[in-house]
């Protein structure tokens, strides 16, 4: 009887470590944890990996960031927010900064962003910019936001920027 107790001790420890004192409770906890993780990462915050240089130096390439999908459930995107914009789905998204809001007029003059003919202070733009252009549709519609990356040292033609409809904005980058 004593032998049995001595022999079963390492096994029972292992059992407790893996399954806990009450395996049934542990199973329930695991299921709850999995469900909570799936819901959180699918509907609340979504991890994304940064690819491409358009948001540098604010966000480095290959860094992992999170998109808060609930950020705009009550409020609308604000100037300066970094947002995720979907393509046809959410497998790949664009990461851009909102620089102009619905109804505003946008243009770039001598590398400076002008909104409604006023120069904007953009502390997140660290590199020199020489862009000079007026977008095809400079005045934004009622559900349109003008988005652009922070790396304005790139050639204007190589930098993806433009009008994002509200429905395409998935959430705010945390």
């Amino acid at each position: 009887m004593q032998d049995e107790t001595v022999n079963s001790k390492p096994c029972s420890w292992l059992w407790v470590i893996i399954f806990g004192r009450s395996p049934r409770r542990t199973a329930i906890r695991v299921v709850v944890l999995i469900v909570a993780a799936v819901i959180t990462f699918k509907y609340v915050i979504r991890p994304v990996r940064v690819s491409g240089p358009s948001m540098s130096p604010t966000y480095r390439e290959n860094s992992i960031k999170f998109v808060n999908r609930l950020a705009y459930s009550r409020d609308e995107p604000q100037r300066g927010d970094v947002v995720a914009i979907r393509f046809t789905g959410e497998s790949i998204m664009l990461m851009k900064r909102v620089v102009a809001l619905p109804g505003e007029r946008v243009e770039f003059i001598n590398g400076k962003l002008h909104v409604n003919h006023r120069v904007q202070d953009e502390p997140y733009v660290k590199r020199p910019c020489y862009w000079n252009f007026v977008p095809e549709h400079p005045v934004l519609g009622p559900d349109e936001y003008y988005v652009v990356g922070d790396n304005r040292s790139m050639r204007e033609e190589d930098h993806t920027k433009g009008v994002a409809r509200r429905s395409k904005i998935v959430g705010k980058i945390l």
Binding site: G52, T88, E144, D158, V163
Partner: protein
């Protein structure tokens, strides 16, 4: 026991019938989805394929297009509309193989809309092209129109879509 066997036999026959029906008459949306995956697969290539395989793959890629296909490209510094024939598409695919060591094409998040008569499918899809081992990648939203000809889906029109635009 006999009854149970009969029920099992009937159930098996029904399952086989459903499987055969779906095999020969697949759901159009599923067939389009499969075709889109096929486009990505045949557009991709690795560096270690021989000349014969490369030509066969390029021809297979070209054969996915209808004979009167329309291609409209509008990306920075490249705006063109073309109606290439199968030989031109094949030559373009072979040209890409000569210029790049390898290429991986993925068609992500396809949104499929079928016409009422189920003869046309309009697909909005995000195409991603990467050169394995290189930092180069290209992401482009596409609108692809497929047409059902002789029970098979062929690419009738390809158009690039500007994600950040009013259109």
């Amino acid at each position: 026991m006999k009854m149970a066997r009969r029920i099992l036999l009937v159930a098996t026959l029904i399952a086989l019938g459903v499987w055969l029906w779906l095999y020969f008459f697949p759901n159009p949306e599923k067939a389009v989805r499969k075709r889109i995956a096929e486009i990505a697969e045949t557009a991709s290539f690795t560096g270690n394929e021989g000349n014969f395989k490369a030509t066969a793959q390029a021809w297979q890629f070209a054969s996915l297009f209808a004979t009167n296909v329309e291609i409209h490209v509008n990306v920075p510094e490249q705006v063109f509309s073309q109606n290439p024939d199968h030989n031109e598409i094949m030559n373009a695919a072979l040209g890409a193989r000569r210029r790049l060591v390898s290429l991986k094409v993925e068609m992500l998040d396809p949104n499929i809309l079928l016409s009422r008569d189920k003869k046309f499918a309009f697909v909005d899809v995000t195409a991603r092209a990467t050169v394995p081992g290189d930092n180069f990648f290209l992401v482009q939203e596409l609108k692809i129109t497929l047409r059902k000809i002789g029970g098979k889906w062929f690419i009738q029109r390809v158009e690039t879509i500007k994600t950040l635009s009013r259109a």
